[in-house]
């Protein structure tokens, strides 16, 4: 009855071969650590486009000069009022699409423009390392 819980994943981790089809997950910010730079720079997952007739939104982020793209099906969260360029958090199930691109069928799509990406990244990393220490290496 209750949906499966949605673990945090970063956009570049949502590759169809790395995550099983149908996995519930949530994704948001990308915290990019550039080794050549003296400071840390953050990139975010931003809404690039929204096609209401297809119920599809495209969110992008850039990490290590590579653009990562996540397509999001918005049928469950319509009516959806997009703010192009804003940061979003997506919670939903992965689907395998033609061409092997990642598609998320969103159950929750919330605008969180202004989020502290660095801190969120740190929080996710801390949670992951805590679980790893406590429970041993595992999917979470």
């Amino acid at each position: 009855m209750l949906p499966a819980h949605a673990t945090f994943y970063f956009p570049w981790e949502i590759r169809t071969d790395a995550i099983k089809d149908g996995t519930s997950l949530r994704t948001c910010w990308v915290f990019q650590r550039d080794p050549s730079a003296p400071f840390l720079c953050a990139q975010t997952l931003r809404l690039a486009s929204y096609l209401p007739e297809e119920s599809r939104a495209v969110l992008t982020c850039v990490r290590a000069s590579v653009q990562h793209q996540v397509s999001v099906r918005t049928t469950f969260v319509e009516p959806f009022h997009p703010v192009i360029g804003a940061q979003y958090i997506v919670l939903g199930e992965t689907e395998k699409a033609e061409g092997g691109d990642a598609i998320l069928h969103a159950r929750v799509l919330t605008c969180v423009d202004g989020v502290d990406v660095a801190l969120l990244q740190k929080a996710v990393d801390e949670q992951r390392s805590f679980f790893k220490d406590r429970d041993g290496p595992g999917p979470e």
């Binding site: 949530r26 969180v112 805590f130």
Partner: protein, 357 residues
């Protein structure tokens, strides 16, 4: 954390109150709440590692919603698990009427402000999928499903995820500093009577408490009116080490003496006559004492001095001492007066005055 927890691994339930986590709303991951094992000693209590837990505090996204007339059931996902939270609807929101038109024009309208406040409160109690919910409540298992019966819940306004991030950052340190540290019972509290030496004051007090309770229960059940110490000595044998050697006899005797002293101080028993023959009267069973108190109150309440307010307890004490027993303590008298009042034979007009009905 398997569900099969052994009772031996659980600390004894009498000591759970020593664990601060037990009384707190534990901030556990939903995953851990779902996997906690049930206590074998007390139903309705769960164990996270060695900590007894029955109330939790959860923050997460609402991913499921089911509404009924009296309550809403929200599925809350904190990214480690999803749990059902039963949130009862507040009756005052049900009849939330139409808005009252404000006077406007910059005039402070109390009714309008109150209406806005109520509206704001109400909107924080109604959630939809995607909202962030904070819940505090007791953990229950219903139809093999774990859920939280909310005692307090509200919608969290978290536009830039500050609250959720802060929660995610604090949880690992909470676990490391608190939940994952074993619940260590101080050694002198954990020792059973058999293993105890009368070192450690609290250890002895624990024993004394038990002895007092055993004696009280016995006297009450058997409706004992009078007894001598050796009549009840055998009741305390199970509390002390087995070997029936002389040292244990001495220990029992000391324990008995101290327990009887405590019962005397509490007024549960008293010695009517101080003589070499150590006889104790049980206050609540002493018919003669109760009769004497009634006589005093009946007679003196008729006197003008005491008609309105009744007799002061000290007056009753001195009268009963003259009539019945010079050794009667105030505590014993209070116990007797309480019993008579429970039986509706007398009534207290103030904290220290009594009269007959």
């Amino acid at each position: 954390m398997s569900d099969k927890g052994d009772a031996e691994e659980e600390p004894p339930h009498l000591l759970w109150g020593l664990d601060p986590v037990f009384k707190a709303f534990a901030r556990l991951y939903v995953k851990d709440i779902l996997q906690m094992r049930q206590s074998r000693q007390v139903p309705g209590i769960y164990f996270y590692k060695t900590h007894p837990v029955f109330q939790v505090d959860v923050l997460g996204t609402v991913v499921y919603r089911r509404e009924r007339e009296d309550f809403c059931c929200y599925g809350v996902d904190d990214s480690t698990g999803v749990i059902n939270c039963l949130c009862w609807k507040d009756e005052k929101w049900r009849d939330f009427g139409d808005s009252v038109k404000g006077r406007g024009g910059g005039v402070f309208d109390a009714e309008e402000q109150l209406r806005k406040l109520r509206e704001a409160q109400r909107s924080r109690m109604e959630l939809d999928i995607g909202d962030v919910l904070r819940v505090r409540g007791t953990v229950k298992t219903s139809r093999q499903q774990r859920e939280i019966m909310a005692s307090c819940f509200y919608k969290v306004s978290d536009p830039v995820m500050a609250v959720q991030i802060s929660r995610m950052l604090e949880m690992p340190s909470l676990y490391r500093d608190c939940y994952d540290r074993p619940f260590s019972v101080p050694p002198h509290q954990a020792g059973t009577a058999a293993a105890a030496e009368p070192g450690g004051l609290s250890d002895f007090q624990l024993l004394l408490g038990r002895a007092g309770r055993i004696l009280k229960e016995f006297l009450r059940e058997k409706e004992v009116a009078r007894f001598r110490p050796y009549d009840v000595e055998y009741l305390l044998h199970p509390l002390l080490p087995r070997p029936a050697a002389t040292p244990s006899v001495g220990q029992v005797w000391n324990l008995l003496k101290d327990s009887l002293k405590i019962l005397q101080d509490e007024g549960e028993i008293f010695r009517k006559v101080l003589s070499p023959d150590e006889v104790y009267n049980v206050t609540e069973q002493d018919k003669d004492l109760l009769a004497a108190i009634m006589d005093v109150l009946r007679e003196d309440s008729k006197r003008e001095k005491y008609t309105e307010k009744g007799c002061h307890v000290l007056h009753v004490l001195s009268s009963v001492r003259q009539r019945y027993s010079r050794n009667l303590s105030r505590e014993a008298l209070q116990v007797a007066l309480r019993l008579l009042e429970c039986n509706s034979d007398i009534i207290s007009t103030t904290d220290s005055h009594y009269t007959v009905l």
